[in-house]
Amino acid sequence: MITLGTQGKNTFLEAVNEKSGANVLECYQCGKCVGTCPVSQYMDFPPREIMQMIKLGLKNESYMANSHWFCLTCSACSGRCPREIDIPAVMEAVRHLAIEENYLNTSTKVKEIRKFHEIFLSMIKRYGRNYELRMMAEFNIRTRNLFKDMHLAPKALLKGKIPLGVKPLKSAKAIRRMYAIAEKLEKKK
C-alpha cells in the first residue's frame, strides 16, 4: 500500500518537469501512449503509470522501474499524445536523474542494457567512432554470455557485414577532451 499526503511539496515532479521541459500534470491518463509504445509490455510500469507515479511523487518506484531503461525514444507516444506531452523526454529525465542520484536497477536485463551503452560510449571515447565487432565481443564478455549471437557471427563476418577493423579518428584526443569537459559539466549540475 502507498500512503500519500505524508510528503510535503512534490519536488520529484518539479525536478522531472524542469529537466524534461514537459509538464507531467497535463497527462490525463488516456493510455494512448501505452498501446502505442512498442515495448510497454516489457516495462514494469507502462508510460501512463509512470506519469501517474511522478504525479504522486513516487520517486523511488519511478527510479527503480525498468521502464525508462526500456524506452527506445522512438517518439511514437509523444506523436500521438492528445496533450502533446514529450513522454520520451520525461522518461529520459527520470533516467538521467536516476543515474545522477545513483539508483541502480539490478535486474539483469537493465544491467545488460546499461552495460551495452557504457561499452558503446567507451568505444567512442577510445576510437571516436563505433567499432561494432569489438563492441559485440566486449558486450558478450562483460555480460558473461560468450556465445550470444555467435551463430550470426561467421555469416556476418563472411559477408563482410561486420568489418574486422575500424578506421580510428585522426584527432581522437579531441573526443577525449570533449568527454572530460562533458563529465565536468555533469558534475557541476
Binding site: G31, K32, G35, S40, R80, P82, R83
Partner: protein
Amino acid sequence: MARVGVFVCFCGANIADYLDVPQVVEEVKRIKEVKYAVEYKYMCSDPGQGMIRDAIITHKLTSVVVAACSPRMHEKTFRKALSEAGMNPYLLEVANIREHSSWVHQKDKKAATEKAMDLCRMAVAKSIANEQLHEISVPVTKRALVIGGGIAGIQAALDIADARIPVVLVEKSPSIGGKMAQLDETFPTLDCSQCILTPKMVDVASHPYIELIPYAEVLELEGYVGNYKVKIRKKASYVNFKTCTGCGACWQKCPVKVANEYNMGLDKRRAIYTPFPQAVPNKPVIDAEHCTMLTKGKCGICAKVCEKGSIDYTMQDEIIEREIGAVVVATGYDMWDPKPYEEYGVGRYKDIITSLEFERMVSANGPTNGVPVRPSDGKVPKNVVFIKCIGSRDEAKGIEYCSKICCMYTTKHTILLHHKVHDSHAYVFYMDIRAAGKGYEEFVKKAQVDTGATYLRGRVSKIYKKGDKLMVRGEDAQIGQVVEVEADLVVLATAVIAPKDNPDLARLLGISYDKYGYLSEAHPKLRPVETAKAGIFLAGCTQAPKDIPDTVSQASACAAKVCGLFAGDTMKKDPMISTISNEFCSGCQNCVKVCPYGAIVTDEVPMGHGSKELRTVAKINEGVCQGCGSCVAVCRSMAINLAGFTDPQIINEIVSI
C-alpha cells in the same frame, strides 16, 4: 439651493456592528446642503422606505442619499420609494457603506466609520449635481427573426408564434429539420426522432404566424433592439414553389446523380431533389452546381416532365427585407472531420465510419434500410468497435473541450446495433463515461448489462488492417494491458464543432463568439440565452454543444425572452445614455469612431440662427446607445455628457472628501 436628505442604514448588525452609524449621521449633518439626516435599522424595509417618502415631502428634499448596501442590490427599491413620493427616481444616490466599508474593515471601526463618512460626502456631493431623468421609450416592431430551422429554431419559432407574435424563420438548406432529422432514435428513451420531429416541422409550415423562408441566408442586420431591419437572400431554387405540387416526377427522371448529404454521402440523390421524404417544405430545388442544364445547357428533362411547368431555369437569387424587433440565432453545429487521425488509417479504410454515418445506416429510412453494413464489401458486421472522444478532448488533433453528447449517442449506438444485428458485439473504447442527465446513467447500464457492450477504458492507439479485419489496438487501463480487438467495422464518435460560418454571422449581427466559433452568451450563468447585444438571443448548439432536451429548453427560454421584450407597444429603456449639445459639438467625430455600438451618427445643423450654411455635428441614437461613456471621455469640446455619470457629478465626488 440643494436640499439633500441622507438616510443611513444599520442593515441589522451588518453595518452597525463595524462602524459607528450615529457618528456618521452627525458628521453628515455638518455638510451645509444636507437638510435632513437619519439612521434606521433596515432602510429597505417598508417602514424604512416610508421614512424616506415622508422626509422627501416634509423637508422638501431636492435629492436623496441612502447609505446602505451596494447600489447593485437596492438602487431600484429606493428609486421606487422616491417616485412614490413624487420625486424623480434618478435624484437618488446610494453610498455603499456595507460592501465597501463595514464588511471589509471589520477590525478597524474608526477607519470604517471615517470611510463611511467620506462615502456619504461623495454621494451627497454627487446627488447635488443629479438631474431629473426620464425612462426612454422606443417603439417596437413585434416580429422575430429565427436563424436556423433545426429543432432549436423550430421550437423557438413555434413558441413565439403561439404567443401570436409573427416569426420569420430562415433556413439555409431546402428543408427544415436540421441534424435531428438525420437521427434514427434518441437517447435515453429510444423514441424515434422522425416521429417526434416531423409533426413540429409540419406545424411550422402551417402556422399562421410563421413565415418560413427555406434555402435562404441572412445578409445584413441593421438597427437596434426592437427596431432591426434584416436583409435575406433567397437562393434560386429554379422551382416555382407556388405551383409545384411536390409530385416527384422531376427527381425520378433526373439523370444526374450526386452524393446525398442527408445520408452522409452513403448513397446518391439527383440534381433536382428534396433532401428527404419528410422534407418541409416538400418541394424540390435544383442543385445549380451539378445540374447539367444550368452548367452545360444540356438536358432539361425535369422541365419536360413537370406537368405544372414549375421549373424555371432562369430564376435568380432574390434579396428580401423584413422589419423585426428581435433575433434568435439557432445555427446548430457541424461534425468534426476525423482525417487527422492518420494512426487509425482514417481515409484509407472504408470500414472506419463516423457516428453520423452509422446513425444513417441504422435509420429505417437510411441508405441501407436500417441495417449497418461494411462500406468495403456490404457485409453485415459482427464485431463493431466504437471509439469515443474523436477530436474531443484532443488538443493535438481536435479541440480541447468535451462534446458532451458523444458518450450518450455512442451508448445509444451500441444498443441500436444490438437491435439490428442480434449476434453482433459492441466494443467501446472510452476515457470517461459522462452520463449526467435524467435517465442517462441508467441508459448506460442498459447498454452494458442488457445488451452486453464491452467497455474498455483507454484511447485507441492504432488501427491496422489484417485480412479483411481491422485490428484496433489500445490499452485497457483497468487491467493495465494492451488489447487488440478484431473488428469488422469501426465507428468514430466525432466531436461537435461550431458551424464554420458562425464567425461571419456573428460579425454581421454584431455579437461576439469564442475561440471555437461558438456564439457567446451575455453571462455564463445568469444570462445564458441573451447575447451582449440587446434583442439577440441564442438557442441550441450554436452557443455550445448540447443534447436535444437542453436545446429545446434553451429555445423555449429564447421565446420567453422575445415575448417579454414585445410585452408592451414601446420598450422602456434606461435613461442613462449620452447626450450631445450641438452648441459645443465641433463635429470632429471622435465619438463616432469609439462608439462600440455605432450609436452615434452625424447630422447637419445650421451654422447659426437662420443661417443657410450647415455644419456637421454628432447625433446620438437613443435606441442604440447603451451608456458606456466612451464618447464622453474622447469629446474634446465637452459637448457630450453621460446622464447619471456627468462630469460635474463625478468631479463633485472627487473633490468632496
